[in-house]
């Protein structure tokens, strides 16, 4: 049944581009919404639809299903905001088609059991996102897309070189074959090199700290719905989920590798948070905050214990939700004020109450305040670090959490609280297309946060 997750978006693109363009233009957006809801349903309540003729090697465990759920939710809100923000019907139609391709690519990344197919689907999503970033043909967007293409091409080359060298011992590209071969073969320096460059490539795709050059540019220059999608799921699926999958199902946790992950994670957390403090552009601050939050996922993974991995995946889910909500808020503010510079805003909460409240809740979830969802995942990661003996990193994580709170409070103070400026006296709340998705995401944050103690037993990890 998992093959439908890839085939259905592909078939949708083909169906939408059949001759009846006039009619399809109108229904495309509703079709996309229905598809994302269907994906949520299928993830939560799996139905066994047998594929009679095509046997694809796909598999899903609980990690993949959590990521599939994130993808569907973020896609849903992206489509809602795109419907509101992209006025021209033709453009909207192309946008929806690209979203379908992105969806097929990301679903593929989460479901594959083969290292080369993983690369193929990563590249599909990346190509679709280059086009999405430069969708409006702004100068900055083109620049960001070019940077992304260059770094991404470097990452592709590294990834494929890693795959080729690993094939020297495994002779196959399936996860299982590689895992068996890695057990048998002596740890030669060549194989260590191969694994190192493969993981570095995933770091580039995920925008972790030493390799983050493209990420703030891409997030801030992309059109608003695209930054929601990029920050929420695209980079997380390509880089971070890819890393989790490779670590869990292929390489396994090794001493030096764990140290490297913990170090890179801690570096990303601290430097990302400090860089976020210094930003005055709304979206750039969120982008640096994204780097910092991804660091938490990586140190959770770096513990190598079941609890740590659970925390990492849970934080990935939470991050997708609250970061999408914050990017939607930034889109709402930008659509009303026409600027992203935080020094030009003040006291917007009185004029835009829904945006204000949803952004406060999302920020608090990101900073890890109880009882919101972000609190639980950060708590689990820190407990996992403490239990497995990496106490220094646990302390770093707690301290960085304070910095997170600091920059989000600074954001709130500059944008939403305080006295309203004269020239923004007569602005109104953003349209329903931007507030409704934010409200949905906030409801998920609160709901998961409150229900988590009860859900803990239901989720068999």
């Amino acid at each position: 049944m998992y093959s439908w997750f890839i085939l259905f978006p592909l078939l949708s693109v083909i169906i939408l581009n059949l001759p009846f363009r006039g009619m399809m233009n109108k229904i495309a957006i509703w079709y996309a919404l229905a598809l994302s809801i269907a994906q949520v349903y299928l993830v939560l309540f799996p139905v066994n639809i047998v594929m009679p003729f095509l046997q694809l090697n796909l598999n899903a465990d609980i990690i993949s299903r959590a990521v599939l759920l994130c993808i569907a939710i973020v896609l849903f809100v992206t489509i809602l905001s795109a419907k509101y923000l992209i006025k021209k019907e033709d453009k909207l139609f192309n946008f929806v088609n690209l979203l379908f391709i992105c969806l097929a690519g990301m679903n593929g990344v989460t479901l594959v059991t083969d290292i080369f197919s993983l690369y193929v689907f990563i590249e599909i999503t990346a190509v679709a996102s280059y086009t999405l970033i430069s969708f409006y043909k702004d100068k900055d967007a083109f620049e960001a897309a070019f940077k992304y293409i260059m770094l991404s091409a470097m990452a592709s080359a590294m990834m494929l070189a890693g795959i080729a060298l690993i094939m020297l011992i495994s002779g196959d590209t399936g996860f299982f074959a590689i895992r068996e071969a890695l057990k048998v073969s002596p740890h030669s320096s060549l194989i260590v090199f191969a694994i190192a460059i493969f993981i570095c490539a995933l770091f580039i795709k995920g925008g972790l700290m030493p390799f983050h050059g493209w990420l703030p540019d891409a997030y801030s220059a992309a059109p608003a719905p695209v930054s929601v999608l990029l920050a929420g799921v695209v980079t997380k699926t390509l880089g971070i989920y890819g890393l989790i999958r490779i670590m869990v199902s292929v390489i396994g946790f090794d001493g030096p590798l764990k140290q490297a992950l913990l170090f890179i994670g801690a570096l990303s957390i601290v430097v990302g948070a400090l860089a976020a403090l210094g930003q005055s552009d709304f979206k750039r601050m969120l982008a640096y905050s994204s780097i910092s939050q991804v660091g938490y996922i990586i140190i959770g993974l770096g513990t190598g214990t079941a609890l740590g991995i659970f925390g990492a995946v849970f934080h990935l889910f939470n991050h997708a939700i609250f970061k999408s909500s914050l990017f939607l808020n930034s889109a709402a503010v930008e659509s009303r004020l026409g600027t992203r510079d935080m020094d030009k805003m003040n006291g917007l909460a009185s004029k835009m109450p829904v945006t204000g409240i949803t952004s406060v809740i999302s920020c608090l979830s990101a900073a890890g305040l109880p009882p919101l969802a972000g609190f639980w995942s950060k708590l689990i990661i820190i407990v996992a670090l403490w239990v497995s003996g990496y106490r220094v990193y646990a302390v770093v994580a707690i301290m960085a959490s304070v910095i997170t709170l600091a920059y989000f409070l600074s954001l709130q103070r500059r944008v939403f609280f305080g006295r309203i400026k004269e020239d923004s006296m007569n602005i109104k709340e953003a349209g329903i297309g931007l507030t409704l998705p934010a409200v949905i995401l906030t409801a998920i944050i609160i709901g998961v946060g409150i229900a988590f103690p009860f859900l803990r037993d239901a989720i068999k990890f």
Binding site: F116, V120, E123, V127, Y130, T131, S134, K137, K139, D140, F142, E143, A144, A145, F146, K147, I149, M150, A153, M154, S156, A157, L160, A161, I163, A164, L165, M167, L168, G171, D172, T173, H212, G213, W214, P216, D217, S220, A221
Partner: protein, 106 residues
């Protein structure tokens, strides 16, 4: 690994590494956007050759050929989109110089 195939692999490995180094150097040193893309092409060519060489040594030619075909298709699509982006940059700045587009800073 037998001595003969080891020697073959080392020879190819060294030359592939040199080719990749030329590509990366070109990407980093040039300011011209199209030249940077040519550097990317050289880098990807090096990787293609590496995959084929590995297939020859492990006698998995069929699998590696299938991989290379998929990879070439991907490479062409990436290049097409990249050239579209370069033309877009040129339509804004009227030049292909990377120094003209340094608005954003990492």
């Amino acid at each position: 690994m037998s001595a003969e195939s080891l020697q073959l692999f080392c020879t190819f490995g060294i030359f592939i590494f040199m080719l990749a180094a030329i590509g990366v150097y070109c990407m980093l040193a040039t300011y011209n956007l199209i030249r940077a893309l040519i550097g990317v092409e050289l880098l990807l060519k090096a990787v293609t050759l590496l995959i084929v060489a590995v297939g020859y040594i492990t006698k998995h030619n069929a699998l590696t050929q299938a991989m290379v075909i998929t990879f070439i298709v991907i490479e062409v699509v990436v290049m097409t989109v990249a050239i579209g982006v370069v033309l877009g940059i040129r339509s804004h700045t009227n030049s292909l110089d990377a120094r003209d587009i340094r608005n954003l800073k990492g």
